[in-house]
């Protein structure tokens, strides 16, 4: 099981360049047993191109820094094992193609931080001091799934709404941040409704939920296997239907003055 015995030379094509242009460059690089794509990129850095720019951090699929596109598919480089490729297969690595490129494999992901700021934050319930929060496990389960998100922004990268249509970037928050709205709307103690903020309504009116055509690429690429579409986006769409397109629910809420703590 020695690493050396299994070593081979792989053919890599890596995009190099910056905002002014660039292209795919070919490399032959050693691969050892058990390695992932990020290891190979690091070997390139250490042996052939010391200034190859790549963003990475934990190398264990927990921080979501090393997002890129490998053979055209949005993936984390640290979680893509070399063993999934044939030995004679060319492995093509490019930066994420939805965000402006900075250099080589590094992109400017500030779009996501700007969107994060547009989502109204958690509103703590008035009258509850720290330590007095009581929540049941089954009530926090849904939001906890969404909080597994490591913000790798692969879902934002793959979503055709902004990937293929730059102009939608202003109107559309993207799957990660629509999921954040769902997380807050399902939070058992979020007091936003008391402040007049209806997340169900604003999801569609301010954050572009309607742009989503639920083609599920976000779910496909999620390295945390969060069921973004089924558990966050569609439920959020249904919640916004409650508000905007369902006269029965609307009427019911007018008549019964529904207690919002149900």
């Amino acid at each position: 099981m020695s690493a050396q015995s299994d070593a081979y030379k792989a053919h890599f094509r890596v995009w190099r360049g910056d905002a002014d242009g660039g292209g795919l460059e070919d490399f032959r690089v050693e691969v050892n047993d058990g390695e992932v794509v990020l290891d190979i990129i690091h070997r390139l850095q250490a042996t052939q191109v010391p200034d190859l720019a790549v963003r990475w951090n934990c190398k264990a699929g927990k921080c979501g820094s090393c997002s890129a596109e490998i053979n055209g598919r949005p993936r984390l480089m640290c979680m893509t094992r070399m063993s999934v490729f044939e030995r004679d297969e060319t492995v093509t690595v490019t930066p994420m193609r939805t965000f402006p490129v900075v250099r080589d494999l590094v992109t400017d992901v500030s779009f996501n931080y700007a969107k994060a700021r547009e989502i109204p934050s958690f509103v703590p319930p008035p009258g509850l001091a720290p330590g007095e929060y009581r929540m049941q496990q089954e009530d926090v389960g849904r939001s906890q799934e969404f909080r597994k998100c490591i913000e790798c922004f692969l879902c934002q990268d793959t979503c055709h709404v902004v990937r293929d249509h730059e102009e939608n970037k202003t109107a559309f928050a993207g799957p990660r941040f629509l999921m954040r709205i769902a997380e807050l709307d399902m939070h058992p103690l979020d007091a936003a409704p008391d402040t007049g903020l209806d997340r169900k309504r604003t999801a569609q009116e301010n954050h572009g939920l309607g742009h989503c055509n639920i083609t599920k690429c976000c779910t496909e690429v999620c390295p945390e296997h969060i069921r973004i579409t089924d558990n966050a986006l569609i439920p959020l769409k249904e919640r916004s239907v409650d508000r905007k397109y369902d006269p029965l629910v609307w009427l019911g809420s007018k008549i019964r003055r529904r207690n919002r703590t149900d």
């Binding site: 905002a19 400017d108 055709h160 055509n213």
Partner: protein, 286 residues
């Protein structure tokens, strides 16, 4: 200062050197990594949209023919699910069957058209089928990280696609239709002379079909929302929470159930067609 979390204005550095045409705003927008290919996928990504489109197309062709045929949809005790309930005077007489002449005699077209609108609407607005046909027919997108061939995209923000939001009404109707089809299935426990307590191969076909129809209907995302998804505190509604859990398990298989029930409903109709045209005799068990 470019160091904040604020997006920077990106100068159009490559300017006129390149891209125009349908992709000039997408992955070929000036600020993005300069890669001529519209995608770099090496797997058979086209397989899914191609098979989806082919499958849906086949069903549309078959069902259109059968719906407009206005013939060969009843072979006692079986009524084709495409023609149930039958709501016009021109229906084939079905003893004890789902023919209620609500529309009277003025309806001259196939009675299937009166009723098919509901299951059709249910499936057309279904969250799974939307994915399937947006990808398969619309190429929006054809596959993940494969650029779509459209210049503009507004999704479901405006007419007509904003109407997808009425899915839950079709769900309510779909429950009624499924109820009637359940009634039809009960009627299949008769023989050709309407005597109860008999079974044939057709009974099995109908039972399988109705089971799949129910499973597909109940696994619907709107159903999941209505059953419990809309609640904020599951802990205060233990029964609905449990139901929501079950629906959720089915919901994870919604796509598979959508296809299975689509095939089974066509199969049930085709079975009746075979009997009605006399090509085939229903094997009776007892």
């Amino acid at each position: 200062m470019a160091t904040g979390t604020e997006p920077q204005p990106h100068t159009d550095a490559r300017g006129a050197n390149g891209a125009s045409g349908p992709y000039s705003t997408g992955v070929h927008a000036p600020s993005r990594a300069a890669i001529p290919a519209r995608h770099l996928r090496t797997d058979r990504w086209w397989l899914y949209p191609a098979t989806t489109a082919a499958g849906l197309f086949a069903f549309v062709v078959y069902s259109t023919w059968r719906a407009f045929a206005n013939a060969d949809y009843y072979a006692a005790p079986y009524v084709s699910p495409f023609y149930s309930p039958c709501l016009a005077e021109n229906c084939h007489p079905m003893r004890g069957g789902p023919n209620w002449e609500i529309f009277g005699g003025w309806w001259g077209l196939s009675p299937a058209l009166l009723i098919l609108i509901f299951p059709l609407g249910f499936r057309l607005t279904c969250y799974y089928y939307r994915k399937a046909y947006y990808r398969g027919f619309w190429s929006s997108p054809p596959a993940c990280a494969v650029a779509e061939p459209h210049k503009k995209y507004t999704g479901e923000t405006r007419f007509p696609l904003i109407l997808q939001n009425i899915h839950r009404y079709f769900f309510y109707f779909a429950v009624v239709v499924a109820g009637i089809l359940t009634y039809d299935t009960a009627l299949t426990f008769r023989d050709a002379d309407y005597e109860w307590g008999h079974m044939g191969l057709g009974t099995v076909v109908f039972v399988v079909n109705i089971a799949l129809i129910w499973a597909y209907t109940i696994s619907c995302h709107s159903c999941r929302h209505i059953i419990g998804g809309r609640l904020r505190h599951f802990s205060k509604h233990p029964v609905r929470y449990r139901l929501w859990g079950w629906v959720g398990k089915l919901n994870a298989r919604h796509a598979a159930l959508a296809w299975a029930s689509l095939i089974s409903v066509a199969a049930a109709d085709f079975y009746v067609f075979l009997l009605a045209t006399g090509v085939f005799d229903d094997p009776r068990f007892f």
